[in-house]
Symmetry: C2
Subunit: 333 residues, 2 copies
DNA sequence: TTGAAAGCGGTACCAT
DNA sequence: ATGGTACCGCTTTCAA
């Protein structure tokens, strides 16, 4: 069933049908309702490809993340998808993995499919070498980066200040007289580097010389993480607090401590559901996806509507206190 | 840049360009490479909408789940997306929520976008009343259901035997002389009903009369779950084992037990990463997504290639033993 | 208010 | 091996 057949059935031209489809006012109420009833009767749906061909858009937005099976990306994707939908766009999803070639391939795929815009989730899309693929993509389609930062024209970033939040964590720990703070991390994406740098700066600002950083194998399971951290704890028995770059790592650290009969203050990152599931429950930095994602989508929609928008928006983070570490703000002894 | 311009630049017809694009052998090697070089030089990409219009396909597969921010759906989506990609298809993602109207709207959206097939993840897509929307969708496009079962022509289901796995769990618990088994659940989708029914059948088969089932508010956070289960444990202090319909609920139950100083055998469901994160780590039923998803995609691709495929594939589950419950298979005292 | 017809950018049939 | 051209289903300009 196509527009011509519907036109014939209604005894009007295809133009009129098109006008009805697109809510063009230049159709009498009578004709309009008649056409609508026929369309309903025959369950007619305009061909999206044909519309796409002319309008040069199928109202699709490409979302790329490295791995949707990571709760952080899942949450972001979930929030973005729901926002996008509100504005009448659909989401095409790609999970790229961490391989640069695959990221490029996915980007190309989205461009080939002529998406209206591209949203990259996470700083994994900023390579530490060059970012030509993103530069190229941005020339053809707006690119939004969630919690990542690349300064390229046509690329818009909405992120939280991860470095600063880690600096604050160090400060909070030192306020409780912790001077041997272990930092557990794995992947050194831009974000990973920011956090690591926050750790180092934090130590420096607090006058601490000794860094105890533990690098965990990327993609390690909980037992591998536990073992790695346990080894580190044996190596640095003076450790009196632990921070991790992600909740999952923090939980591995938690298990390591349990194994060694330790119970040090512990701060995770992402405030994921893992943090709630942990026993004791995990104090964690909330990276504000709940605010960032809607803001990013709003920015994108404004952009698509031709408005002027900022190229960079940075939010502060928030420490969610649970059982593994509490600040004593009101230290009324 | 379109096919005509490229044709002009190459001094050949659009037909030839098209042939090169589609790897049609009827082009000399010389022409082909020349065309290819020009295409590369001008960074030409055939318009996907135009191709879609003619071929009536953009090689897109629609994936629907209720909530990608649930690790179960996230894992399934991740596995499906990666399999689909291998076969040269892209994924368009929709998160519908649990509202029937929204599910219908999403289904319509996918059909409007003329996806090549639709994959529904989870039994939440089977309504307990009627399923006309799925019936209608299946008439226009193949529908695959992951871990859900609806017997409708054009709908293909790949699932695991959840009911049976719960029956087995009851049996394993009774073998350890547990007779007061609490069952914690929330949403009663088809899957939820299957599991609940497995619990009841299991009890019956083991000659247990007393059912202790606890219904938790849908969407409850970990504290609400803990409170609900704690109340139930106070009401039924004779409880000597707990099963849950999902890992997250099991963890809530775990926290309730901790609160009350209890330490009963506990079995979760889904074998999600939550199970690893729990302390003590959670014994859980693996619902075999790792096998189901590739099988489902394979079935789909076969279907799209016109092969005959089964309408229903059922896999057995597997109990992953961790700390909260271990079977004593080799009970050599 | 309505309609005829020219595209949008490809593909595929039928010639050559 | 290559090309001319009708056509996919819709939108939009221009004319009536």
């Amino acid at each position: 069933m196509n527009i011509k057949e519907i036109a014939a059935l209604c005894d009007v031209s295809t133009t009129t049908i098109s006008r009805v489809i697109n809510n063009d006012p230049r159709v009498t109420q009578k004709t309009r309702s008649h056409v609508k009833s026929i369309m309903k009767k025959y369950n007619y749906t305009p061909n999206a490809f044909a519309r796409g061909l002319i309008l040069n858009s199928m109202r699709m937005i490409g979302i790329l993340c490295t791995n949707i099976d990571d709760p952080y990306y899942a949450k972001a994707t979930s929030l973005i998808e729901s926002e996008i939908k509100k504005h009448g766009y659909n989401s095409i999803l790609g999970c790229t993995g961490n391989n640069l070639e695959d990221k490029i391939k996915h980007l190309d795929l989205l461009l080939k499919n002529r998406v209206d815009a591209i949203i990259l989730i996470g700083s994994a899309f900023r390579e530490n070498t060059e970012n030509d693929h993103i530069r190229t993509a941005a020339k053809q389609s707006p690119v939004i980066i969630i919690n990542g930062l690349i300064e390229i024209p046509g690329v818009y970033c909405v992120l939280c200040d991860e470095k600063e939040s880690i600096i604050q964590n160090v400060r909070l720990l030192t306020e409780q007289n912790k001077r041997n703070i272990m930092y557990v991390y794995d992947v050194l994406t831009y974000s990973g580097l920011q956090k690591l740098s926050g750790y180092r700066i934090g130590l420096e600002l607090c006058g601490i010389k000794k860094e105890i950083s533990v690098s965990v194998k990327i993609g390690a399971d909980i037992n591998e993480i536990r073992n790695t951290v346990a080894d580190a704890l044996k190596l640095f028995p003076e450790t009196d607090a632990i921070m991790a770059s992600e909740d999952f790592l923090a939980i591995g650290a938690q298990k390591a401590m349990a194994e060694l009969g330790k119970n040090l203050p512990l701060i995770g990152f992402d405030n994921s559901r893992y943090a709630q599931c942990a026993t004791p429950s995990l104090t964690s930095v909330d990276n504000m996806l709940d605010s960032i994602c809607p803001i990013a989508v709003k920015l994108l929609i404004d952009l698509l509507n031709g408005k002027k928008v900022p190229s960079k928006i940075i939010m502060p983070t928030e420490l969610i206190e649970r059982e593994t570490f509490v600040t004593k703000k009101s230290s009324t002894v």
